[in-house]
């Protein structure tokens, strides 16, 4: 009997070898994210050992909004990352355990597949590691990870883990993986700008002018530009994905007063004051702005880039070399935009708001 089975099995290679379709196992439970083509290839950006599955996404979502992951059951990821604010919290600096203040503003979470080196200073290169950090960080949720596992067991999460990962085992690795799956599925691609790119709407004259200014590096006397697209690249409006090239010193402070930024991670003096370029999608709902939330409005942000740049040793050359008027090396750095041009850029920034993302029930608190 055994030999017969062996015989039948031995025919199997014949059956698949001449199949014109390549054989590939199908994950039945796959969660479809369907981002637009112009975001760029992403399949290779999803770790092969952690594909996004429906059950993994649902577990990640439950964990994202699970207050038991904080020491006093008062905070979840969703506390500082609120969907209606494009997963930010409206505060300059986020409050963690017992109201302790962090040093930086909660970052918006969207289109994370096309970025690496997470956090303002690039501390974590993998989403899984980044996701676990706030849980245990004393100024955030302040819960040791082994206790997190225990609390999830007590709350009856084992069945959810079984559905997502095939066994009842709850462990730190799986918590990180589930959170990463949920966050990778947070795609924002239905703003008015996307609708324009798909040819569905006509932008206003002001939006169109702002869009062109946004993506144009100015050339004095030849080309008006607001110089945003040099760092906020392409339709994603986020930073360069390659290494730390998407980290820039955007002239917030001088050498004496500036925060370390990327230097805290790399130890290199030339990285001082360089911070991660955030996506500008949904930027109109994610005030206040900059890594420390120092600007309340988009108008203040435009004023900063136009006439508030402070020189320093590490100020980005793309800012030094961006002006609509000829600038001599000893002059202050000025973009020289007109009031109308600033308003137009802001009109374009408002085009990046994606109501369907902010209100998508799949991303809401399931508890």
């Amino acid at each position: 009997m055994k030999s017969r089975i062996l015989f039948l099995l031995s025919l199997y290679p014949w059956l698949i070898a001449c199949n014109p379709e390549e054989y590939s196992p199908v994950v039945e439970d796959s969660y479809q994210i369907n981002p637009p083509v112009y975001f760029g290839d992403y399949k290779e950006r999803i770790p092969s050992d952690n594909p996004i599955t429906k059950n993994g996404f649902e577990l990640g979502r439950k964990l994202f909004y699970e207050k038991a992951l904080s020491a006093d059951n008062s905070i979840s990821c969703g506390t500082c990352h609120q969907q209606k604010l494009a997963f930010t919290d409206g505060k300059a600096k986020s409050e963690g355990f017992e109201g302790r203040l962090g040093k930086v503003s909660a970052m918006s979470l969207s289109n994370l597949l096309w970025t690496e080196n997470f956090t303002w200073s690039g501390k974590f290169d993998r989403l899984k590691d980044q996701s676990l950090d706030p849980i245990q960080n004393p100024i955030e949720m302040h819960l040791p990870l082994e206790q997190a596992v225990k609390k999830l067991e007590e709350k009856g999460y084992a069945a959810d883990f079984q559905k997502a990962f095939g066994s009842y085992d709850i462990n730190v690795e799986r918590i990180g993986n589930a959170l990463a799956q949920f966050q990778r599925a947070l795609i924002s691609s239905d703003s008015r700008y996307d609708q324009y790119l798909r040819g569905e709407i006509e932008p206003t004259q002001s939006e169109l002018n702002g869009m062109n200014l946004f993506f144009t590096h100015p050339i004095p006397g030849q080309l008006r530009g607001a110089n945003c697209g040099d760092c906020h690249l392409g339709p994603l409006t986020s930073g360069d994905i390659d290494g730390f090239q998407g980290f820039h010193n955007n002239g917030l402070d001088n050498d004496e007063t500036m925060d370390d930024g990327l230097m805290a991670v790399t130890g290199k003096p030339q990285d001082k004051g360089r911070f991660k370029t955030p996506t500008l999608r949904n930027i109109a709902v994610t005030a206040p702005y900059m890594h420390d939330g120092r600007f309340e409005t988009l108008e203040e942000v435009l004023d900063h880039y136009n006439s508030g740049i402070k020189k320093s040793e590490t100020l980005d050359i793309l800012i030094i070399e961006g002006s609509n008027e000829p600038i001599n090396v000893h002059d202050e750095i000025r973009l020289h935009l007109t009031e109308k041009e600033k308003k137009d850029v802001i009109a374009f920034l408002h085009m990046l708001t994606d109501e369907s993302f902010l209100n998508n029930p799949d991303f809401s608190n399931p508890h």
């Binding site: 001449c18 760029g40 080309l223 392409g234 390659d242």
Partner: protein
């Protein structure tokens, strides 16, 4: 003993199956591979990045990143006839202090002798203004400008150090349909069965600023369109690439 014999008989198809699992309808034809290896040079020496200072036009400068698109590669025979056109031929070559992607590999080639190679710098107008592209044209690879302007064909960034300590950038982003340039170079390469032939192409950075238009990098430290970008494009069409055929 009988049982053992039986088992062998049963297992025989397994051995056969594992030995010959290819379809007989695809006759194996001998094919070869061509590898095109680019090397970036400055003053004839391998290009060095941050931390290494060069001098030209009475200023010190360094280079942080150099990227350019090589596209629409064709091979020609000695009569100048096109004998091979690479489909979907778009290759982004990049070099930074931590990254070096300067090789183009074209596999599954017919056996042939190549007398010259034609390729373009940049993206042809048809592809240039559609950003729903993938692979090396993937718009998230930071070479796409926007919908209306298409891609940066060549990007070089660095820093100029003036004697009084002032910081100045070097920023050259060259693109635009008018700056799409096609060049032809003689090569000697023979595609042989099951082997890889190699063509080495040198790219001399300073030739971007040299001829036919001399460009003073301290005066023109930024070019992102306009006349200066066109001059640099005419320079890269002229003498940026060279192939040593004396091997």
């Amino acid at each position: 003993m009988k049982t053992i014999k039986n088992k062998f008989i049963y297992a025989l198809p397994l051995f056969l199956a594992l030995t010959f699992t290819s379809c007989t309808e695809n006759e194996e034809i001998d094919k070869g591979t061509l590898k095109i290896e680019f090397e970036n040079l400055l003053n004839g020496e391998p290009l060095q990045f941050e931390g290494f200072r060069y001098n030209r036009d009475e200023v010190d400068f360094n280079i942080a990143v150099l990227k350019y698109y090589i596209s629409n590669i064709k091979f020609l025979d000695e009569e100048g006839q096109v004998i091979f056109t690479e489909p979907e031929s778009y290759h982004l070559l990049e070099e930074t202090s931590t990254r070096k992607e300067l090789t183009i590999e074209i596999p599954d080639l017919e056996l042939q002798e190549i007398s010259s190679i034609e390729f373009s710098i940049g993206i042809d107008p048809e592809k240039n203004l559609s950003l729903d592209n993938t692979g090396d044209l993937d718009p998230s690879n930071e070479m796409a400008w926007n919908w209306d302007t298409g891609y940066k064909f060549l990007l070089m960034e660095g820093e100029i150090f003036e004697s009084d300590g002032n910081r100045k950038g070097m920023v050259y982003h060259i693109g635009g349909n008018e700056n799409y340039k096609t060049i032809k170079k003689e090569v000697k390469a023979e595609i042989k069965a099951n082997t890889t032939a190699t063509v080495e192409i040198k790219a001399e950075v300073l030739s971007l600023f040299d001829a036919p238009h001399y460009i003073n990098i301290n005066e023109v430290n930024v070019a992102m369109g306009g006349d200066n970008a066109s001059k640099i494009a005419e320079n890269y069409a002229n003498n940026f690439f060279s192939i040593n055929t004396s091997n």
